[in-house]
Symmetry: C2
Subunit: 182 residues, 2 copies
Amino acid sequence: MEKINFMKNGVLRLPPGFRFHPTDEELVVQYLKRKIFACPLPASIIPEVDVCKSDPWDLPGDVAQERYFFSTREAKYPNGNRSNRATGSGYWKATGLDKQIATSRGNQIVGMKKTLVFYRGKPPHGSRTDWIMHEYRLVTAANAPQKKNFAQVKLYFHSHSNCWDSQFIRHCLAINYQLFYS
Amino acid sequence: MEKINFMKNGVLRLPPGFRFHPTDEELVVQYLKRKIFACPLPASIIPEVDVCKSDPWDLPGDVAQERYFFSTREAKYPNGNRSNRATGSGYWKATGLDKQIATSRGNQIVGMKKTLVFYRGKPPHGSRTDWIMHEYRLVTAANAPQKKNFAQVKLYFHSHSNCWDSQFIRHCLAINYQLFYS
């Protein structure tokens, strides 16, 4: 059995072309769910950052790479479930319909994904930018314990490249993960 | 220094979410160029397969995953440079304009990418499918040694998902790499 040392000085180093590029299912099942239940994660690749404490371009990491975070959420109102999505320069606004995340092997729904767009300025008159955020939440059984104010999101910069060019998704991709129970 | 064994029984095993998902630049510079010049590759991840000897759905590997190949090319005519792109069930047809592949650090052009679509039947009356192939070639200095009939292509199945959903690129993605000098 050949062993390849992918770690050097505590930092994960992969050969060119290899990267952390998970599917939605992997994110929800392998990382988000384990994070919620305080289980060990497959890899320590996702740091904890409050995504709304910074503007998307100021989030830690390389804006030219995909960035992934676990982030806690702050309620907009003390007794409500709406999230406070304002940042220093603008705000995140939901768009479109939530999408179900199903397992690849069957039709089990494991999570939901919401898409948000970043606007500069103050609502409702902000100016739309190309920063996109995906917010993931886990779908659990009806009698599962409920937790509040902890959600999962993914951010990236949506360039106007040809959809067939996978590079547009990786360019300036900022991922922030929080956990949210509906 | 912590060592993580990513190899088991000779097979590369990565944690969930990690995969071979190279940029166009990485493909051309780290793999294609090294293959051309018979230099060691960063990882033995790309097998040699003649992409036109099989229909895209019959290529080796998992159709639900990205697949990468190095493949030799057969000239359509003995003295010409046009490639014979016919397979058992159809043919590959070029579409759109070739795209330049530039380095991320500067504006150096390192390669070109051509997009082709797979048609069932015989040209020019074949029926279009959703199988897409990207053909990569290396851009070299004018006085660099020329080689013939060795090209690089990438195949994938283009589903009609939302462009923001990176899964559509990975789903049924079949990659075939050949090297071509123009």
